[in-house]
Symmetry: C2
């Protein structure tokens, strides 16, 4: 069975030594956030993931979910008790306000816990994850009455949440959505239509399921401007909060998928189900975007999470598997062979994964901190800066982390050789599970288009210009210092590639939008490499400081410095390739005759 150990120590290092988490005590929910309390929370959460969730991961994959004749769905053995433990620990409502049943703690800590839970058992973690997303949308856009009626039970995990967007004819293009909402006399709506690919659409983990459903009110405009958001509870809820009648929503079937078998992916049929409008009519997409943005960060972290757990297992295997001898002579002369970690190419694979994981964790925590600042800071300018950066980086993190997370799961599997292809080691499950993260919540190509088509030009390019400025300001002093120069100078050069690419887009994509489309994927990855590089520079700086301050940390900090160096030498040079691809433009691909594909 695969192992898993939550990276609590690394998370604390990133929070306090790199991101200066302690400086944000003025934000609501942060006042109690001493390093000691944070350590305690993360250790407790990590333990739950290691001891309760991880042991259910392989069985969850093997047993999967089952739909029964009455339309009910059962989750794999143990999921129910695990969900109860997860809810009882207060983890679902960790970042929700206390008045709505939450713990009122920073979203940053919820993000850390999401990583641990997704590493331990991604299919399981999606259930509370979707509840968190639905809860966030409700808290932002629901009426006070709706919040009181639904939020506490969701935050406390008695009820769960889902998001219902996709229909057979409409995935990316929500304008094609046909699910109908007919006004009823009591002010509610009657919802009819079919939704597909609904994660956690039906299950046996909670007493009720609160579906957030996009539908078109009769007579509403066509396209995305006629879409509204509705609450459709599985069981109707009385004014007193008591569960009432079963609503007209049911699971028609569950999908057979490549992975995440422990999560029920449902076809949901709405047959005149009673729904309650959330926010304004025809502004549903707006409200849903709150949930989607949070979900996108959550999915980004799934990429990191699977990369991390796959890494841990591959590193252990590489130290234990005896096969062949080091190129420089036996390192384990008394054994029948050397452990395969003596081989440079095995180290290359491990370090490629590690060099992603630690910086990606830093970026994920930084993004969550930006979300906390955007929602909780009293400083309007700080809020705007944080919001701009979060908007810019959310598609980048989603696209890059899930692409690299999947590649890393594949690399980790590769280290196992033939055993990696066998179910028993669990490595192939990580690959299958990681694969979905590149697809759902907007396929990665859509993230790239969102970045290039919307996030870059927004507000006259304010967010990207701020990113350039802030990164340049970070790097300049560090590149001038001999100790930090090896970690800062390469990123300056990569930043230069990013700026050239951005300039090229400004000059070539306005008049010819296909150039933006053709460049989008490479641009997303280019930005991602620069962001990871800048994070490594910050980590290296913190590692040097920590090492000077706490000599007993030298070995750990040296490992970070070497990983940073590895990133600069072997991973960052990719920015040049991305730039070359971007500036080659769209002409060749667009000239290709459709019938010749």
């Amino acid at each position: 069975m695969p192992i898993y150990k939550a990276p609590v120590e690394d998370t604390l290092f990133l929070l306090y030594d790199v991101l200066n988490f302690q400086r944000f005590g003025n934000l609501s929910g942060f006042a109690d956030g001493t390093p000691e309390l944070t350590a305690q929370i993360l250790s407790e959460g990590g333990k739950l993931c290691e001891e309760v969730l991880a042991p259910l991961n392989q069985t969850g994959d093997a047993k999967g979910c089952a739909r029964h004749e009455d339309g009910s769905v059962s989750t794999p053995p143990g999921f129910n008790a695990a969900h109860a433990a997860f809810a009882a620990g207060g983890w679902i409502g960790l970042a929700a306000p206390e008045e709505y049943g939450g713990q009122g703690l920073p979203y940053t800590l919820a993000m850390a816990m999401n990583e641990f839970a997704s590493s331990a058992n991604m299919a399981f973690a999606m259930y509370p994850g979707l509840t968190q997303g639905a809860l966030a949308a409700l808290l932002r856009h629901g009426s006070e009455e709706q919040k009181k009626l639904y939020a506490p039970n969701m935050a406390e995990g008695r009820w769960s949440g889902t998001m219902n967007l996709t229909e057979p004819q409409c995935g990316t293009d929500l304008g094609l959505l046909t699910t109908k909402a007919r006004p009823r006399e009591d002010g509610s709506y009657s919802i009819t239509g079919q939704k597909i690919f609904i994660s956690a659409g039906e299950h046996d983990l909670t007493e009720n399921i609160i579906h957030l459903v996009l539908a078109r009110i009769e007579g509403a405009p066509a396209g995305v401007k006629g879409i509204s958001l509705f609450i459709v509870p599985k069981f109707l809820v009385g004014g007193d909060g008591a569960l009432g009648a079963r609503n007209g929503v049911s699971c028609g079937s569950i999908e057979e998928k490549m992975g995440i078998h422990g999560n029920a992916t449902c076809v949901m049929n709405y047959d005149g189900a009673q729904g309650f409008l959330v926010g304004e009519a025809n502004r549903g997409l707006n409200a849903m975007f709150v949930m989607m943005n949070e979900a996108r960060l959550g999915v980004a972290v799934q990429g990191l999470a699977l990369s991390e757990v796959a890494y841990q297992n591959a590193a252990l295997y590489a130290k234990e598997r005896l096969q062949g001898r080091a190129l420089t002579g036996p390192k384990n002369p008394d054994g029948p062979a050397d452990p395969i970690i003596v081989h440079p190419d095995v180290r290359r694979m491990l370090l490629e994964i590690k060099a992603f994981n630690e910086a990606a964790r830093g970026l994920a925590l930084a993004a969550a901190l930006d979300s906390d600042i955007a929602h909780r800071s009293e400083d309007a300018s700080a809020r705007q800066t944080a919001e701009d950066r979060l908007g810019l980086l959310t598609p980048v993190l989603k696209g890059v982390f899930t692409d690299m997370g999947f590649e890393n799961a594949v690399k980790a599997q590769q280290i196992f050789g033939g055993s990696g292809y066998i179910r028993e080691t669990g490595m192939e499950q990580f690959v299958r599970d990681a694969r979905i993260a590149m697809i759902y919540e907007g396929a990665n190509g859509i993230q790239a288009l969102d970045l290039v088509g919307r996030k870059l030009p927004r507000d006259g390019g304010r967010a990207i210009m701020a990113f350039f400025k802030e990164t340049a300001e970070l790097l300049a002093p560090l590149a001038a210092d001999e100790a930090t120069k090896p970690y800062a100078a390469p990123v300056q050069s990569a930043l230069d590639d990013l700026q050239k690419a951005t300039m090229w887009l400004m000059q070539n994509a306005m008049t010819k939008p296909d150039n933006a489309g053709a460049a989008s994927y490479d641009y997303m990855h280019l930005l991602g490499r620069v962001a990871l590089g800048a994070m490594w520079t910050r980590i290296a700086q913190a590692a040097l400081e920590t090492k000077a301050r706490e000599p007993e940390q030298s070995a750990r900090m040296d490992a970070k410095l070497l990983t940073a160096r590895f990133y600069m030498e072997r991973m960052l040079p990719e920015t040049r390739l991305r730039l070359a691809r971007i500036t080659s433009g769209a002409d060749t691909m667009m000239s290709f005759a459709e019938e010749m594909f």
Copy 2:
């Protein structure tokens, strides 16, 4: 259900317009090789793959193989009849000499057919593929008596073959092999030990299974120099060829794997089974290498094959799936949305796959032709050139084609969005099946080491020097011609990167072998990119000539020219990145403390 159409037309173009297959009529087996006959053979083979093998691919995955209590193994429904049809068509012995039951045709044609069969049903194609590999080893190293006894039944598909190398403690490192061979009085051996991961180790497709087994004769030296090769038939064979008693070899269990469920991956137990020495004692690895080299090319082609079939399905889907609008305005204004092929990023993914497939097919056919020349030419110098090139390129093709084949299967799946993650579309099966090709027959890291550690330095670097010379000579006139320059000049620059990388290795790896290990994987991919680029230059040249000669082929040839251009603009620039990674050396990764991984 996924579609599949064998690329017969493209194969013929590559054979006759690019590789000048007609020039090799002087080789034995080639005399009848007119384009018309070749077309007829490939069409017939393609049809068998399309109509018989492809329809069994998804059911084969879903049903898998089953081991019964008596140790027998049944293959998925339909496999037996399909194997009979495959054998009856003469496809197994296509390239085997007529005197041993084969068709005596070029291995080049067998290679083309292997691609088609692996696209249609990889798990199935492995059964005859292993028989072909075992047959080749027997024909090369077996005694005349052994050849007569076993070869015809194998070539005709009544019996099948396997290769038994791996043991629990020994995969890559065959020196650790412990399976024992005790001499018997009759000159045969008694084989005892356990082999794992034996593809097609037991099944119900043939009357007998001829296992080729590596074992150590009692008293033989330790390490790889004490390994011998044995024939261990499932049923002993009388001098008259009649099947006799069941031998002491049995399938202990079959593995649960990520993919290729239609192929039985067996734990094989040898309990004093009667075995017959092949070739010289203690020279078994040598004999097995014949099988392994052929198998490596076969596995390389599996990478191509899955990339091809995944491409075909993704291209079809991209033309049919209506979602969103083109960035430049509606292209299908009367429909609810445009087909997603209007999007540059979708075209990017399709062209990345296509630009690999067509050149990879050219390289695979060229490698097979080299094998034919190496084995059949009467010109010693031509034999040596072909053998050198084949030795150099075999690990490159295996490593690069299977890595890119897998990546391409993932890309093709991505084009399907959420539907790609659902079993029904078959796209996720291509990904799961393609994954094994990166692992078996020597994991790709081992291919890279074989290339850098053995193939490069062999004979004073004769093979790589010849590759440089021949590529430079191909490019020079084409780079001087305006029409072909766009396809030749970029490859010249990539070749320059390869030469720099080779020079760096010569200067830095002799004294420090870890530098070779650290560079190996990138070097393999760098060489692969150059080889694919050189093939695209040849294809472009042929396309220009064909277009001038046959104007009705213009549209098809223009597609090839655009694909070549796409390759040069977007894929070839990777050589610079690979060079940067190679020259960064091993220091950083080797300084990393083992306990810090």
